[in-house]
Structures are given as C-alpha cells and as structure tokens.
Amino acid sequence: MRWWKQMGAGLVLAGVVLGQAFAGTGGPVTEAALAQGFANLDHARRTLDGAELKQVKAVFSQWVLSHPQDPRGHYGLARTDLFLYNYYAHVVKNDPVQAEAAFTEAMKEAKIAAEMLPSNGQVHALLGRLYQIQASLHPVSSLLATVTTESPVLTEFRQALALDPDNLEAEIGLGTYCLFAPKVAGGDRERALRHFRRAAKLDPQDPEALTWLAVAFREQGDLGEARRDLDRALALDATYRFALNENLRLQQAESRRGDSSE
C-alpha cells in the first residue's frame, strides 16, 4: 500500500475522530460530505485530476467557512492545495500563478491546522512536505538559511516522526532531505538510506520507498543495490512513473560506468 493510501486512510480516520470531537457544530457541509471530500481527495491525488481537486477544495473551503475551528477542514484544504500545486506545477505547467497561489494557501492552512493540532504527526508531515517544496522553489536562499538555523523541513519531519513513528510520509521526507541536503545543512546519505529502508519496511508493497532506496544507492555510486531495489519497485508496480524515470536514470549511470570501466 502506498503511503498515499495510508495517508488517505489516515485522513478518513482523522475525519471520523475529529468529527466526533467537533460533533454538533453543524453547517452547510455535513459530516458525511466532509468524509466524502476526504475520499474524493484520495482519489484525486492519485489521478491529479484538476476538476476533481477543485471540487474537493470547494467542499473543504465551505467546511472551513462553517467550521473555522475545525482542524479537519484546514488540514483537508491544505492537502487539496498541495495536490493542486502539483497539478498546476507539473501537469498544467504553464500556470505558475495558480501554482503559487495554491502553494501559498496550502502553507497557510497547514500552519493553522498545526496550531490547532500541534501533536498530530500527519499535520507536521504535511508541513514538512510544504517546506520541502518551498526550499525547492528557492534553493539558494533556503540553503544559505540552513547555515545558521536548522531547516524547517528537518524540524517538521522529525516532529512528525516523534509524534507518529510509523509516519511513512515523514520517513520518506526525511530520507529525501538527508539525500540531497549538503552536510552543513544536515545531509547524510547513510542516514537517508536508513530512512528509506525503514519506509520500505513500513510498507513493503510501496514502490516509492523502494524507488527512493534505489535513488539513494545510485547517488552513492552503488549501482548494484540500486538496480536490485528498483527492480523490486518495478515488480510491485511496473507502471509506476517515478520508478520508470529512475530506471532510465539508472540505466544512464550504468551505461556511463560501463563506458568508464571499458
């Protein structure tokens, strides 16, 4: 099961739990509609269907308007905006304004949710993910900032894991951070490998963790291990896009090494 599924189940569970906590608040969107919104979100994030994502966003927006103190709405809205950002940035590609607006709103709602639910690992994992995107948008300034202070990506993912040790998103997020960050900013490839291995253990059927493991091994120069893990990922899902892309990169690396060894 992919961590997205885990996250979706978590979202549903969170909806139920938080719904009980906030039962009786009432509003234009009913609890059932909210639960349906989370279900639709889980579906839309897999297809990155823009129209569906917008519909889900409308549900969560209405819920937030009617239940401003309900963290579920803020969390759902933040998640929806994150997926919308992915949609605008990587699917539509030519709408940076919408992408930025989606990202900004996602960050705002996630922070509100984190304030309301400071002990929720999923919320901190979401924040960590958003900070990771922010760092990718401004790589130089983010790197320079980490010279003096710890990266918020690291902080949020660590907090998520501290609150929820089995949080797959935080485990992979930490792994990716450790993989690409320089040493002065907390980068550590061995540590990245440990996080990816643990992620693969948490969900052995998830090709993403195995693919990240392959990426880490490739970056470290261990192409054999990379090939073994990538083959396992492709065996789980032969159409998994990230794994297929990594397969091409790995093949290029293997080709370069073959050339150099010859």
Binding site: W4, R45, R46, T47, L48, N86, A89, H90, V91, Q132, I133, A135, S136, L137, P139, V140, S142, L143, L144, T176, Y177, L179, F180, A181, P182, K183, V184, A185, G187, R189, E208, T211, W212, V215, E219, G221, T239, Y240, R241, F242, A243, L244, N245, E246, L248, R249, A253, R256, R257, S260
Partner: protein
C-alpha cells in the same frame, strides 16, 4: 641605476599574472570539477579573465606614482632644486609619504583588483550555473501522468537543491581562491615593488633621513613578518578548508573512484604550493633580516678596528633603515667627538711641552740669576776690595813713581859729581842709575797693574753706556797674563767694530770667564784666537782655543749652572752660566762649537744698541 617606471609596472604585472596563472592552473589541472560541471572544460574562456587584475592594479598603482616618477626623471637635470628639507609645506610631506608608501599602495591596488576578480569570477560561475540549476527533463518516461509526479518533483527539487549547493560551493571556492591568489599576488607585488623602489625612496630625502617629526611613515618589520607568517601559515589551511566543502560535493556526486584520486592530488598540490611558498618566503625573510644584520656586524667590526668613516648602507623602509640612519648618525657623532678629543689632546700635549719648557727656562734662569747674584755680589765685594787695594797701592805708588823721577835727576847730578870723585863712585853711580831704571820700570808696571785692576773692578754703571770691547778684552788679557804667561800664545784679530751699549764690568766678566776657561782647558802650551767683527747691527767676538774640545754629550749642558768637568774644588760651574746670563741680558747670544780634539770656539754676539 636609472629608474624606469616600466620596471615597476613589470613587477606589478608579473605578480598579478603569476597569481592568475596559479588560479588558472588550479582550476584547469587540479580542480577540474568546476570547469567540468559548468562546462568550462577545454575552454580557453577563463584565460580571458587572467589579465583583469593586472590591468586594474596597473590602472590604480601607476597614476598614484606618476608624480614620483616625474620627479625622479627630472631630478638629475642641472638647476633643479631638490625637495626642501623643511616641513613647511604640507605638499612636500604628502609627496614624501607617497614615496614611502608606494609599495604598500601597489599591493593594496593589487588586492583590490583581485577582489574585483573574485567577484567577477563568482559572477561568471553563477551565470554558467543558472542553466545547471534548472531541473532536467521530468518527462523522461512515456508513462502517463499519475500521482508519482509528486515523488518525481521531489527528486527534481532535491537535485536542484544539491546543484544549488554545488554552485554555492563553487562560487565560494572561486571567490575564496581568487582572494587567496590576491593575497599571494599582493604579497609578491609588495616585496618585488619594494625591492625595486627602495633604492629610489632616499632620493626624496636630500639629507638622507627617512624620518623626522612629520615624515615618519615606515612599515615595521613586525608587521611584515606577521603578514608573511600569517599568509604562509594560513594559505594552505584556507585552501584545504575550501576543499572540505568541495569534498562534500564530490562525495555526493561521486560516481567513480577517480574523484577521490583527484581530491588527493589537489590536496598534494596545495600542500606543495604551501611548502614552496613557505620555503621561498622563509628564505626571503631570512635574507631580508640577516643581510642588514650582517652589514651592521661588519660595520661594527670596522668601527672596532678604529675606522670611523664607516657607513652602513641599508636602504630599507623599516626599522633596519631607521637603525642604519641612527647608526650612521652615531658614528658621525663619534667621529666628531674623536676628532675633538684628538685636537684637545694634541693641544694639551703642546701646552704641556710649552709649559714644561717655560718652567725649565724659568728654573734655569732662576738658577742663573741666583748664581749671577752670588757671583755679582762676590765680584762686587772683590771689586771693592781690589779697588780699595788698588787705591791704597796707587797712592804710595804715585809717591814712589814721582820720587823716582826726582831720584833719577838727583842720581844724575850724583853721577856727574862721581865722575869727578873717582872711578869707584862712577861705577856705583852707574849701578844706581840702572837700579833706578829697573825700579822705575817696576813702578810703571805696578801702576799699570793697579790701573787695570781699577779699570776691571770699576763699579757697574747704573745705566748702560757705550763700551769699547777691544779695551775690555785687552784689560782682561792683562789680568790673565799670569795664567797665560809664555804657555799660551794669544792671537788677536780685531776688526773694526763700534762700541756696544752695555755694562762694561759685566761684559769684561764674560770675556774673563771665556778666556780663563780657554786657558784652563789647555794644560800645556796652546793658542788662543780672539776675533772681532761686525755683521749688520751686531758685533761678534769669537774666542777659540786649541784645547781638547768639549765632548758632544756636554755641549748642551755647559751653560747650565753648577755644571763643571773640573775636579772638586777647582771650579764652581758658574762661569759659563754667568756669561750666558750676561750676554742674554744684553740682548745677545752666545754659541759654542766644538769637536773633540779640535778645541772649542765661543762666539758672543751682541747688538750694537740696546732696544
């Protein structure tokens, strides 16, 4: 040596190009990652940047020195007034300070040029890295879009962050290395420039002083050494520190073992550069310190050997230069004082000699005067006695002499009567006549002796009067007749001489002493030659004998009082001393010439008139 600004420009150019060459070699040969990652590998484009620091440094440094070069180019022309020594004009002080600080300004200009170079280099790296920062094509898979795009995006963003870090590292490395090369080039330019410029600096100071109340502006050795040791000590560490950043990037991007080998090679290169720099600069520093010290040591050896014309030729714009000035000033002062002391000593010795001579003369004079006084008193008493005796003798002698005439007349009458009385009476009368003649001759002789005694012992006149020297000599000879008798033959060769103004008695005593000495010097028969003559305003009397002469060792002492070669009790040793004193008092002089076995000749020289 004629100064050429081109030499200075060449030195600045050389230092900067050397720094540029090291930088290029580092990136082209050792740290190939930078050029490779930013696609500079094999490109000659970075070479275009090499002249940049040189141009900037020259543009900054040469205009600063332009007035100095102009001054140096015209200073040799006739009629050009050198810079005044006074500090009245602020422009002169500024001019001198400019001359003193020129090497430092050249080094600062070089450093500034390399700061620009570092910024430009970092800018070039950034410009080339912008494309590198862009994510590679995400659509490398033909698979339709799905949710895994988020993972792919995460991967791409991670790669971007990594590349951004690599870019920052490369920019920092380029910037830092350029600054480091700037430090190397500045140090080189400073020392090369100073080596060329040092000889020119003293020409701005006509009196050879590098400092006064206003012109003091040196670069102390402690700062130079600190700068050099800091540079030599830290340069390899800084480079290795930069490499540590590079290493992180290399390990992250490592796909072959060659990267590690490359890293080791670059470390070795930096260590080798550091060692070479340290050795070269250590030798330079050691020489820069030991050479002036050696010059001082040699100079001190020469000074110790008494050569106070020593000068230390240290032309350095630091403590050694100031020390050389102080040393030279000290030697100059020492030379002046030594000359003053020598002059003082010589004057003192001359004064001592003069005073000693004066004292000896005074002592001799005193002794002579004392002896003369004694002799004069003795002679005065003797003269009075002789005069009294002569007077007493002269009176009865006059009776005798007068009576002898009467007696002769009476005897003549008796002799006429005796012829009539008989032959016996005639013979007796004849014998009486003979006796009378003999008595008369004796009386005449006695009268002459008495007259001579009176003449010789005549009391001195109070005032000097003209004296007939011939008469004085004759009277003296008459007195000495008993001494000379037939034993000594006296030859007189009197010339035509005028009377000499003086005291007759004293002059007679001079002749008496000289003639008596001559007579006593000859034990047996001998001869004495007396000669008088006139030369100009002086009258000379020489008395020469045929005696044994005076030994040479005694010649200088014969006029000393109480000096005598005669047996004890035979002579007082005062005769010649008194004669010397009398002659000197008369304004004359007395000389003696003598050869052993050939007699002695005393020559008295007297002025005709006393002034």
């Amino acid at each position: 040596m004629k100064f050429r600004p081109a030499t200075l420009a060449l030195v600045i150019l050389l230092g900067n190009l050397l720094g540029g060459a090291i930088l290029y070699l580092y990136f082209a040969v050792i740290d190939v990652s930078t050029l490779r990652e930013f696609r500079f590998a094999g490109s000659l484009l970075p070479l275009l940047l090499l002249p940049l620091p040189s141009v900037i440094a020259l543009l900054l440094a040469l205009p600063y020195g332009a007035p100095l070069f102009e001054y140096l180019s015209v200073i040799g022309r006739p009629g050009l007034e050198p810079l005044p020594e006074t500090f009245g004009g602020g422009r002169i002080i500024h001019f001198r300070r400019r001359a003193l600080r020129y090497p430092l300004v050249a080094a600062a200009a070089t450093m500034l040029a390399w700061v620009v170079m570092a910024l430009v280099l970092a800018g070039v790296v950034y410009a080339y890295a912008r494309g590198y920062l862009r994510s590679e094509a995400a659509e490398i898979s033909p698979v339709p879009m799905d949710a895994s795009i988020a993972a792919e995006a995460l991967y791409q963003s991670g790669q971007s962050a990594h590349r951004a870090w690599v870019m920052i590292v490369q920019m920092a490395k380029s910037f830092g290395l350029a600054l480091l090369m700037g430090a190397v080039a500045s140090t080189l330019v400073f020392f090369l420039c100073e080596a060329v410029w040092q000889k020119q600096v003293p020409r701005f100071f006509p009196q050879g002083r590098l400092r006064d109340a206003h012109d003091q502006w040196i670069i102390p050795v402690r700062f130079r050494l600190l700068m050099i040791f800091l540079f030599v000590g830290t340069a390899p560490l800084v480079l290795l520190g930069i490499l540590n950043y590079q290493r992180a990037g290399r390990v992250l991007a490592a796909d072959t073992d060659a990267a590690l080998g490359n890293l080791l090679l670059s470390n070795l290169f930096l260590i080798a550069v550091g060692v070479l720099l340290a050795v070269a600069l250590s030798i330079f520093i050691a020489r820069s310190v030991s050479r002036p010290l050696d010059q001082f040591r040699r100079a001190m050896d020469r000074v110790r050997a008494g050569r106070l014309d020593t000068q230390v030729q240290v032309q350095a714009n630091d403590e050694f230069g100031l020390l050389a000035e102080d040393f030279n000033a000290m030697i100059q002062s020492l030379r002046e004082k030594e000359a003053a002391i020598r002059e003082l000593t010589q004057g003192l010795e001359a004064k001592v000699r003069q005073r000693t001579g004066e004292l000896e003369l005074a002592l001799r004079e005193q002794e002579r005067t004392q002896a003369q006084l004694i002799q004069s008193a003795k002679m005065a008493s003797l003269g009075q006695l002789v005069a009294g005796i002569a007077h007493e003798i002269n009176n009865p002698l006059s009776f005798v002499y007068a009576n002898l005439d009467h007696l002769e007349r009476f005897v003549g009458k008796i002799e006429g009567a005796a012829g009539e009385a008989g032959p016996e009476f005639q013979e007796t009368a004849a014998q009486i006549a003979k006796l009378l003649q003999s008595s008369k001759a004796g009386a005449r002789r006695t009268r002459e002796i008495v007259q001579n005694l009176r003449a010789f012992s005549r009391p001195d006149q109070a005032e000097p009067r003209p004296v007939d020297l011939h008469q004085g000599i004759a009277s003296t000879l008459e007195l000495l007749r008993p001494l000379f008798r037939d034993r000594i033959t006296v030859h007189q060769e009197f010339g035509r001489i005028p009377n000499v103004v003086g005291l007759m008695g004293q002059l007679n005593q001079v002749f008496l002493n000289l003639l008596a000495n001559a007579g006593e010097a000859m034990a047996g028969p001998g001869e004495v030659w007396i000669k008088t003559w006139q030369e100009g305003e002086r009258v000379h009397v020489s008395i020469r004998d045929s005696g044994p002469g005076i030994p040479p060792e005694n010649l200088s002492r014969i006029f000393d009082p109480f000096f005598t070669t005669k047996a004890v009790g035979k002579g007082t040793g005062l005769g010649l001393s008194i004669a010397y004193g009398i002659v000197e008092k008369h304004g004359g002089e007395i000389r003696v010439e003598s050869q052993p076995g050939q007699g002695a000749c005393f020559t008295v020289s007297l002025p005709i008139s006393r002034k």
